[in-house]
């Protein structure tokens, strides 16, 4: 069973690309953010409108007479709709299928064949957005069809994909302690790292990157566990003197980098 729906593209050079579809959760999250941004923009425009509309009204009275009020209201609604639809068209066209919310949720709109969206697609999506949101038609469609398309996606021929599946590693930087170099030298002198596979180093790297957000006890326990696993792989009975499991893992990681480069 796959938790996340996937989609495959084949480029003209017959290179196969696989992407994970955005999923209803990320799309709702993106919409939540976008609507907050949009609300701010509309609030700003409304404040400006309050001052401008008075002048339009007095000017309009000279032309349309008593009908002027209706015209002012009509213009206001027109501007409101233009901002609402324009927000999505503007950002999705400019940022290649992303809006501020989609950026935060790490998702992107692309065409069915994987190419970036253009003005045509983004406009169709934006125009059909109100229909998707009436009685949650869009949300239900995304939940219940395999390609996760809402009405706008069907008409425009687009899908929404995830730009990155990694949630933590990007934000956290890999920082090593000062004693790690010493540990690395000791490890290089005394041990043979060749039984270690690249996958093992990937796990150690993952630990080093993520350890700062772990709870203290769990981090200490995990360091000991991983160290023991490394020890059994490289058949090292005792840790070098004065080196904690945490620094040992840093040393192993550095040593791997040095051996793989050299």
């Amino acid at each position: 069973m796959h938790i996340f729906n996937r989609v495959k593209f084949v480029t003209p050079e017959s290179v196969e690309l696989e992407f994970t579809l955005a999923g209803i959760g990320s799309r709702t999250f993106a919409l939540l953010i976008d609507y907050h941004v949009l609300a701010l923009i509309i609030a700003l425009i409304f404040t400006i409108w309050l001052t401008v509309s008075y002048q339009i009204q007095t000017f309009g009275k000279q032309i349309f007479g008593e009908q002027a009020d209706n015209w002012v209201v009509a213009i206001a609604f027109f501007i409101l709709f233009a901002v609402y639809a324009g927000y999505f068209v503007f950002f999705e066209t400019l940022w290649q299928g992303q809006t501020p919310g989609k950026r935060l949720a790490k998702i992107r709109v692309v065409r069915d064949d994987g190419r970036p969206v253009g003005l045509q697609q983004t406009t169709l999506r934006a125009l059909l957005r109100p229909f998707d949101e009436i009685s949650f038609i869009g949300a239900l469609l995304i939940m219940f069809n395999r390609k996760e398309k809402r009405l706008g996606d069907f008409v425009a021929g687009t899908i929404v994909i995830q730009t990155s599946s990694i949630a933590v590693s990007e934000k956290q930087k890999l920082t090593l302690s000062e004693s790690s170099n010493l540990a690395c030298e000791k490890i290089l002198e005394t041990t043979n790292l060749s039984p270690m596979l690249p996958d093992d180093f990937a796990v150690i790297r993952e630990y080093l990157v993520r350890r700062h957000i772990m709870s203290k006890q769990a981090r200490a326990a995990l360091a000991i566990e991983l160290t023991q696993q490394v020890q059994s792989i490289i058949q090292l009975n005792n840790l070098p003197d004065g080196i904690s499991p945490d620094t040992f893992l840093e040393g192993i990681y550095l040593a791997y980098q040095k051996t793989s480069i050299g």
Partner: protein, 289 residues
């Protein structure tokens, strides 16, 4: 399962949206069996004390089953149910402790609000003597009172979110981990959720938004029935009883429909938080294979 892509890759922490998507997908795949458990759980509510423990345990069972799918060691409901029935009373203890905790927090907040009002009153009394006696509208007093109301709303709202988010997982460790009891599971939820408050708040908001479309048809049906029964109830009061029963029944059904979603999302969140806070799944490859 792509949560754990291939055996060599460790379980990765998930993004906010993906926690919700994964929960929804798990519910979708096991829709019938989870929904059945939810109905069983709510049927148990009718039995006092023992039934309440059973209700808590049955809801937690959904989380345990979803978790077993996530770590790719699927269990059957009867297997997992046996584990949970063995610690049935711990669920009641947990419920009782949470009840006391929430009452305690509520009283604490009320006292805090009272003290804040008192302080503001004293300050106003010192700086604007006779402000209360003066019947005329005093802008400073009005402004300060307005600010106080805003502070109240902010305070109540943030305490509410804090409690919701930090205690969201209380029943999950009790249903999954071997060495927990009704008290330690609450502490476990508090520790696991540390530093993830806003992520969890976002997950709660998104999930609440998504439960709307699932509940709307039932709410509409309920409203239609209530309106059509109203003229009948005026003639014969027995219809009023019928309307009330239909109302309770439909409300229960609509809660039972979304409760498994919350339970599966809690299971995914539990995995995600353990992966973040404890490096759950980080393990070097087994050499023996």
């Amino acid at each position: 399962m792509s949560f754990n892509q291939g055996s060599s890759q460790p379980i990765q922490p998930l993004s906010i949206g993906n926690v919700v998507t994964a929960g929804l997908r798990l519910y979708g795949v096991h829709f019938k069996s989870y929904l059945k458990l939810a109905f069983i759980a709510y049927a148990w509510i009718l039995v006092p004390v023992y039934g309440w423990a059973r209700c808590g345990a049955t809801l937690a069972l959904i989380s345990r089953l979803a978790y077993s799918e996530l770590v790719e060691q699927p269990e059957t409901p009867s297997e997992a149910g046996r584990f949970l029935r063995a610690r049935l009373w711990q669920f009641l203890l947990m419920g009782l402790l949470m009840f006391l905790l929430i009452i305690g927090i509520t009283i604490g907040v009320i006292i805090l609000l009272f003290i804040l009002a008192l302080i503001t009153g004293v300050i106003l009394g010192i700086f604007i003597p006779g402000g209360a006696a003066n019947d005329a509208f005093n802008p400073v007093v009005a402004l300060v009172s307005f600010t106080l109301v805003l502070v109240y709303i902010g305070l109540i709202f943030s305490v509410f979110l804090l409690v919701q988010a930090r205690f969201i997982l209380v029943e999950v460790p009790l249903a999954i981990e071997n060495s927990t009891d009704g008290a330690s599971t609450i502490k476990r939820s508090w520790n696991l959720t540390r530093g993830n408050l806003w992520r969890i708040v976002a997950i709660i908001i998104i999930t609440s938004l998504l439960t709307f479309p699932l509940q709307v048809p039932l709410s509409v049906l309920n409203i239609i029935i209530q309106i059509s029964l109203q003229p009948l109830a005026r003639v014969n009061s027995n219809y009023r009883l019928l309307a009330a029963i239909v109302n309770i029944l439909l409300t229960l059904i609509s809660i039972a429909l979304v409760v498994p979603l919350w339970q599966t999302i809690k299971a995914v969140l539990y995995c995600d938080l353990r992966s973040r806070r404890e490096g759950f799944g980080l393990k070097l490859r087994d050499r023996n294979i």
